[in-house]
Symmetry: none
Subunit: 240 residues, 2 copies
């Protein structure tokens, strides 16, 4: 159907905080990206020329060289590399707009891993020119449940359901892992930002909200696996 990629996608992660680098590189390696890490602006530039990444994840706040300047020099090179900026919520959110050009995008710190992975996938899709393929541009489906990424719409049996941002993110995560049980810890790690201090009980609350909104009338899709986590799946006829 779709021809296998000739080589793995290469991502350069640039951040001065080692924790962030570790978090991102581990996550990205897990989904089969080839990852290289740089802790500063100059290091990033040299790494970029040698490594030739397909995408750069770039913190705006760097000790030696402003992230924007790094991006500028990256773009000055022969082949323009798309950039995903990481930025503090309060600080530079304003100045970001205008500097994300073309396929670029940004996420604010603290981010959730789902958010980052999602944005990365979107950027790569765009920069490859897979422009208008209706097939895989953000439409997730399971049974009669449908989540449209672009329209940010969710339907159950064709009926539109309004979800809050967090509800939406949680449902998307469940959909991506449809048929698989995900633990509350996993959900917290992926859907909530990395600095979230609370415990897993908040997941219970949001599962509750989701159920009320999308799992009320029809055969239930969200199932509790006691002591383990939650799973999105069709009810099985025979169960032990």
């Amino acid at each position: 159907m779709r021809q296998p990629e000739a080589r793995t996608t290469k991502v350069l992660v640039v951040d001065d905080e080692p924790n962030i680098c570790a978090l991102l590189s581990a996550t990205l390696r897990l989904i089969n990206f080839e990852v290289r890490v740089a802790n500063g602006g100059h290091e990033a530039l040299t790494a970029a020329t040698e490594f030739e990444p397909d995408l750069v994840v770039l913190d705006v706040m760097l000790p030696d060289l402003d992230g924007f300047q790094v991006a500028q020099r990256l773009r000055a090179g022969n082949r323009p590399v798309p950039v995903l900026f990481l930025t503090a919520r309060d600080a530079v959110e304003d100045r970001i707009s205008g500097l994300t050009v073309g396929a670029d995008d940004y996420v604010t710190k603290p981010f959730s891993l789902e958010e980052v992975v999602l944005r990365i996938r979107a950027i790569l899709r765009r920069s490859r020119g897979d422009s208008d393929e209706a097939e895989d541009n953000g439409l997730l489906r399971y049974a009669d449940l449908e989540l449209n990424e672009d329209a940010h719409e969710v339907r159950r049996g064709g009926k539109l359901v309004e979800l809050s941002p967090t509800e939406f993110n949680l449902l998307r995560y469940l959909l991506v892992n449809a048929g698989r049980v995900v633990s509350k810890a996993q959900i917290l790690d992926r859907v909530w930002s990395y600095d979230f201090g609370g415990d897993g009980r908040i997941v219970e609350s949001y599962v509750y909200y989701l159920r009320k909104k999308i799992d009320r009338w029809e055969p239930p899709l969200i199932h509790t696996v006691r002591g383990v986590g939650y799973a999105l799946r069709l009810p099985r006829g025979a169960e032990e």
Copy 2:
């Protein structure tokens, strides 16, 4: 029905400011143009003969060679290439209008990306002689909302509505992306000029104005997707 284009459209971008070049080339590549960049007048001329662009985006203020002279020599060649001039707002508006002949056009700096892309599309349409195709001659429609590019008119349910330039541009952007959620940052990037320093709150104001003018009495089309952005779409259920 519509045969695929034999080859991509080639655009030569000429400007001495690297940021502008990067901004334009990234944007144009994103919509599947083949882009070549030149930073000066002479460079532009040599690039033009070799690259054979279908269109040239040409800054008037160049260090080595006046943009008009570049255009002149370009036209002297065998095949006349349409030109989109970039010019400072205060500069010589008179001379521009005299020198943009044929399919040519111009935009003033600082421009918005929507404006540039729009003009480029218009030029290409004209220079190809796609004269009377009712399909894409600047008529956008969604539900009972109608935006006429050429006449610069907007109608809701047949009723004419007066919009200010910015309101018009914003509505056009929403219409082009009908059914999809666009974030305030995206809107700022595309609808406002690249040097705009403000933040996303101005978008809120303009959405408010738009709603008062086109979304007051009928089934609402402009929807807020909290935490994400705005979308132009029909209220619910009905999908085509």
